[in-house]
């Protein structure tokens, strides 16, 4: 009995931990994106310790069809966050699918944005780099989730 029980328990515990990390990272990404969205609209981040953000946030690449990328990022992180919470709530398989595969697209998009920052706009914005970091972490977590299946 104990032998059978033990591995089951530990695997589900590990699983839980993973979901909590998902929740934390997507929350961080969401708040970061909200900060960038607000800054995009107010034009407030100019020259302060976070220099470079002005150039990135008001560049022609900062919007798609008039929607700021930061806002799309916020929507993306919120979507992941809600799905992690749903998964904590009822372990449904759709949320698990979302958490496994959607971050791949987020990650690919981040690579494109990093490329723009380094080679096209040539200005760096720490908050944007943080977002690239969180989306990379979500991608890694997603891969772990896929492998665990």
């Amino acid at each position: 009995m104990t032998n059978l029980d033990k591995p089951l328990k530990t695997s589900s515990q590990k699983y839980n931990k993973l979901i909590y990390i998902f929740t934390a990272i997507s929350l961080l990404g969401f708040l970061d994106a909200i900060y960038l969205t607000t800054s995009h609209y107010t034009g407030h981040i100019t020259c302060s310790v976070i220099s470079g953000c002005q150039e990135v946030l008001v560049s022609q690449y900062s919007e798609i069809f008039g929607i700021p990328l930061a806002l799309l990022g916020a929507a993306y992180y919120l979507f992941i966050l809600i799905n992690s919470l749903l998964y904590i709530d009822n372990q449904n398989k759709y949320s698990k699918l979302v958490l496994s595969y959607i971050p791949i697209f987020g990650f690919l998009f981040s690579i494109y944005l990093i490329y723009l920052m380094f080679f096209v706009i040539e200005a760096l914005c720490q908050y944007c780099l943080l977002s690239a970091g969180t989306s990379t972490l979500l991608f890694i977590l997603g891969i772990i989730l896929i492998k665990k299946k």
Partner: protein, 212 residues
């Protein structure tokens, strides 16, 4: 999860999320109404009788300020009768090591009536001096180009009154709770940095129509 637990879980999650979002939005968009009193000893452009006063806190080494100075110059040229433009130093020394010296250079040029000429020159040539470890010689070169008295310029740039003038501006900016440069105040009210010249002009016009 039990039904009761579910309700708690979701209520707390949503509450935390809304609270954190609100905090972040406020952190990104501080609404300070730092009252900004204009004194006689200011670097200004435009009519002193103008109904609208635009105060700009700026840093000669800040790339964003170099973009804005053209907009603000254009505003002073086109609407000089309606708006008084004031320049105040807010050198961010920690990230812009030459910014204080540049502000002193502008003040020193100001002693010979060439503040705005030096101001334009510093912004125009920003890329040429901002990466130097010591830009003093470059600034002296600009003073020569502006036909200033070089001996006076050299002594003024290191003068403690000049240094204090820059520091006083910086302090007034701290009092007005500004966080970065450029920061613009329209009749004492902090405004979001306009994204284009047209938006800046519109903000001034809106302020004018409010008064008239």
């Amino acid at each position: 999860m039990k039904k009761e637990n579910k309700i708690w879980f979701w209520s707390i999650s949503i509450l935390v999320l809304v609270l954190l979002t609100w905090i972040v939005i406020n952190a990104a968009n501080p609404n300070s109404n730092g009252s900004t009193v204009v004194t006689d000893q200011e670097w200004s452009k435009g009519s002193p009788d103008a109904l609208v006063t635009l105060i700009e806190y700026s840093d000669f080494q800040c790339p964003a300020c170099a973009t804005y100075y053209q907009m603000i110059n254009k505003l002073a040229d086109e609407m000089g009768d309606e708006v008084l433009v004031i320049y105040r130093h807010y050198p961010l020394a920690s990230i812009h090591p030459q910014a204080e010296l540049a502000a002193q250079a502008a003040e020193a040029a100001g002693q010979q009536g060439a503040f705005w000429d030096m101001h334009d020159k510093l912004f125009e040539e920003q890329h040429a001096w901002s990466n130097q470890s010591d830009a003093k010689d470059i600034f002296i070169g600009y003073a020569e180009e502006l036909n200033l008295d070089i001996a006076k310029f050299k002594s003024d740039i290191a003068n403690s009154d000049i240094k204090d003038a820059v520091k006083d501006d910086r302090k007034s900016g701290d009092k007005a709770l500004i966080e970065g440069t450029p920061t613009l105040f329209l009749n004492g009210e902090k405004i979001n940095n306009p994204r284009s010249y047209d938006k800046l002009r519109q903000a001034v016009k809106d302020e004018l129509s409010k008064i008239q």
